[in-house]
Amino acid sequence: MLTPRQMSRLLIVASRDQLDPVIRELYRSHLFHIEDFVVEGREGYDGFSIGKPLPGAGEVSTDLVKVRTIENAFLIRPSEIEPTGKHLNAELRSKIEQELPAIEHELGELTGRRSRLEVTLKDCEQKIAEILPFTEIPMDMEMYRGYAGLTVLAGYVSKEVNIPEPSEVYNSAGKARRFIVAVFKNDRRSDVDRVLLEATFQAVTIPVESGMPRARIDAYKEQIAKVKAEIDQINRRLDEIRDRHREFLVACEEILKADIERAEAPLRFATIGQTFVAEGWVPKNRAASLKDALNGATGGKIFVTELTVGEHDPVPVEYDNPSFARPSQLLMDTYSRPKYNELDPTIMVSIVFPIFFGLILGDVGYGILLLVMCLGLRKFIKGEEGQQLIAVLRNASISSIFFGVLYSEFLGFPMPWPYLLPSRHLNIGAHATGHGPNIPGLMMMAIWIGIVHITLGRILSMVNHSRQDHGSHRVKAVLANAGWILMIWGILFLIWSMFPMPLMPDLTGLPPVVMGLNVTAVIGIAALVVGLICIVRESALEIVELPSIFSHALSYSRIVAVGLSSVAIAMVVNYIAIGMLISPQLENITLVGVIFIVMGVLVFLVGHALNTALGILGGGLHSLRLHYVEFFTKFYKGGGRKYSPFGLNRRFTED
């Protein structure tokens, strides 16, 4: 629960001819996290070298590359496909031999044709663009070329051009740029060039065509339409093939990937002579069963032993949480996976995160909207992480509904029962009446939550240090954390003894004992002094962190602040939509009034949709931040390695 799963370190030694059965068994059991063998720097591994892959790895790799190429061409992603049934391995292997080359051939042919057609398409579009300027000049395209003594120039000029030499010039109309075609004798070239240069002439290549420009463009357009139709046909054909073979292809990929992983496993083992050695990690409670299975698979020709786990060994970390807390592992992984000898706070996050989210959003209407959204999205979002995120949001939305009932809020409207938590109802609008929000009550509630959360973080830190550290450092670290707790509560006691506050015990009335201070104040000061000594003993630099006692506790007031802003937006939307637009028109319905009512409904829908989105962002991010910054910094470091056992979760295939 509060710690990662216990792991055992296994050492497997066997002769090389047992490689295949051992790897098969390890792969099937999906339990063994292989510790990759590195040639240099391993104690006790002198003379060992990395193993060689099993025979056949090369061919399988080629097949896998083929399958992945086909999948890429069809835009198939295995993670997005829901398996309808399982393919049998043996059947698949024979199909790979027969069908894969056929599919590859057909795909190659179709995509080849498609790319040729696409080139033609580009070509035609290019030609149309080239001919387009000439459409304004009613002349056959053939007339532009084939002269021995004449030069034909076409291009754009910035002003009208008058060529004094004997020539023929076609000027098209246009304000900024004019298109001209000039025909003149070859020996006048330099004079014409000069005139054209003055008009900033930009030459255009004259396309080699025959026929009137318009007719040529129409012909090319017709060709484009034909090519497009053909490409569509090829795409439809590709879609058909894709739909027919999709499951077969992902099953192929799975089986080939498994083959490759198995074939390449010896690369992660150490070998010497005819012996190989594999080291790795197995969950403690499964170690015995894996040993038995390996003995069974090799007929006892294997030596398996459990090694002692050293304190600084890089043990891979697997979460060990009850099912309701598992989705929150996503939030933990986003920060960092816990280390093996560290407390795993997932279960606390899974409980406290929804509570914070609910306290911030706290509205029955938004909660129901979110819940419906989560239930709807569950079918469309694929992949483990997506599902975890949906589950986290679902829990948060249920919590929002619960706190909405306590706050008595529904889309910003009050519910028919009184609020059980301090009120968040604002007075919005000219005629609003009521008490308004109970800000001091809400603030104190948030700060209480902060104090409890931070104290919990410090207690967890004490546990962590007592587990991880040794000797005098351990005592100092544990005491320093106790010192922080004493400081927090010392300050609280001092405040209680001086100021009466809502939701806090009023101890101002106690009789003074020393220097006008009452007994609570004395306890507070004593706690402060002892706490400070404990902190300084570990590290004097920590003194600069003292203001964080206030800033972190006050940071929890975001629970109120973000929540109130969400309530305010909801109430403003309601006031504009109903109070200002809809209800005045309902008294006397006119045509203009109907328009106002429609506008009011629009404002209502858009406003609340926006506020729901803001609520998810605000509620989610801020409660996450309270965990990451205010809670985790007290005790949590993270940085654990993920436990990824050798093997595959097979989705599409079975033996």
């Binding site: 603030m443 940071s555 602040a561 802003s565 801020h622």
Partner: protein
């Protein structure tokens, strides 16, 4: 005569109360707007760096999201002060 003076005094008192409420509202507005600008300014720099870092390496998304929301505290404190001023 006495009633006139009394009426004048009452108006003055009402005026003073009203202006006090107004000053409180202005103070709250300054508190929230100043901190909001500060938070936005801080997040501007962090946000652009965060997007850059995420583009380089997707794994840091969680961390940079965290870094981006850190200055939100400024505006939250502003809101707290504003709320305490008004209510």
């Amino acid at each position: 005569m006495v009633t006139e003076v009394a009426a004048a005094v009452i108006t003055d008192v009402e005026l003073m109360k009203a202006s006090q409420i107004g000053m409180k509202a202005i103070a709250a507005a300054i508190a929230i707007s100043g901190t909001a600008i500060a938070a936005a300014w801080a997040e501007m720099a962090i946000g652009s760096a965060a997007v850059g870092a995420t583009a380089e390496n997707k794994d840091v998304f969680g961390l940079v999201l965290l870094l981006t929301v850190i200055p939100e505290t400024i505006v939250i404190f502003g809101l707290v002060v504003a709320l305490l001023l008004i209510f």
